[in-house]
C-alpha cells in the first residue's frame, strides 16, 4: 500500500500552510493510504495547546488538527529536537503524538513513497 508522508515545517497563523495541510490530509485519508504526518521545525508549533485564534479573528488552527484522529489519521510524529529547541515538551501539545529523534526521522523518510511538503 502506498505510504504518504505529510511534512509540516511552518508555524500556524503566519501563513495558510497549516490549514492547507489539514485539508489535504483529510481529503487524502478518504483513499485510505498509509498516511503519516510529521511535524518538524516550526511545524511543531501547529500543535501547541491554548491557541486563542479569536484574538486574530481567524479559524482555530490547532482545533483543526484535532479532527485528524476523528478521521482515523492517527500516525502523528513530532520531531523531538525541534520541540526541545523551542523550549517545549509533549505536555504542551494538543494531541497525542509519537516523538521521534533524528535517526528515526531519517528512517521514516526512507520508508515512504511520496512526501507532501507544507
Amino acid at each position: 500500500m502506498t505510504h504518504l508522508l505529510f511534512h509540516l515545517r511552518k508555524p500556524p497563523h503566519g501563513s495558510s500552510a497549516g490549514e492547507e495541510a489539514v485539508e489535504a490530509i483529510l481529503a487524502t485519508s478518504v483513499f485510505e493510504p498509509t498516511l503519516t504526518v510529521l511535524f518538524e521545525g516550526d511545524g511543531v508549533l501547529q500543535l501547541l495547546a491554548r491557541q486563542q485564534a479569536g484574538a486574530l479573528g481567524v479559524r482555530d488552527v490547532a482545533a483543526n488538527w484535532t479532527a485528524l484522529p476523528v478521521y482515523e489519521v492517527e500516525d502523528l510524529r513530532v520531531h523531538e529536537p525541534s520541540l526541545r529547541q523551542r523550549g517545549l515538551s509533549p505536555a504542551d501539545l494538543i494531541l497525542d503524538v509519537t516523538l521521534i529523534d533524528d535517526a528515526q526521522m531519517t528512517a521514516l523518510i526512507a520508508q515512504v513513497d511520496q512526501i507532501l511538503a507544507f
Binding site: H13, G14, D42, L45, R50, Q51, A55, G87
Partner: protein, 96 residues
Amino acid sequence: MATLHLISKSPSASDALAACLRVLAEDDAILLIEDGVYAALAGTATSQTLAGIASALAADIEARGIQERLEAGIDRVDDHGFVDLCTRCDRVMSWF
C-alpha cells in the same frame, strides 16, 4: 532619536532578529509581531537576549498559545500600545 524595530518572522524563517540586534541603539525598542513572537519563547537561544529590550504583541501571543511560555522581561503590548510605541519613537523600521 529612538527607533522602533518590528520583527515579524520566526527566528527559524529569517535572520531578521539577529541582524536587528547587531545594530540596535541603546534607546531603541523592539516589538515582536506575527511569527516574530516565537522569539519570546522562554528557554530558547534568542529569548534571554530580548529580556528588557523587546515587547511582543498580545493578539499574536494569544493566537499562538504562548501566553504562559513567555520569557520573563518581555512585555505584552496591545494594538493601542503598538500605536503608542510608534508615536514615542522617532521612526519605525520593519525587518523581514
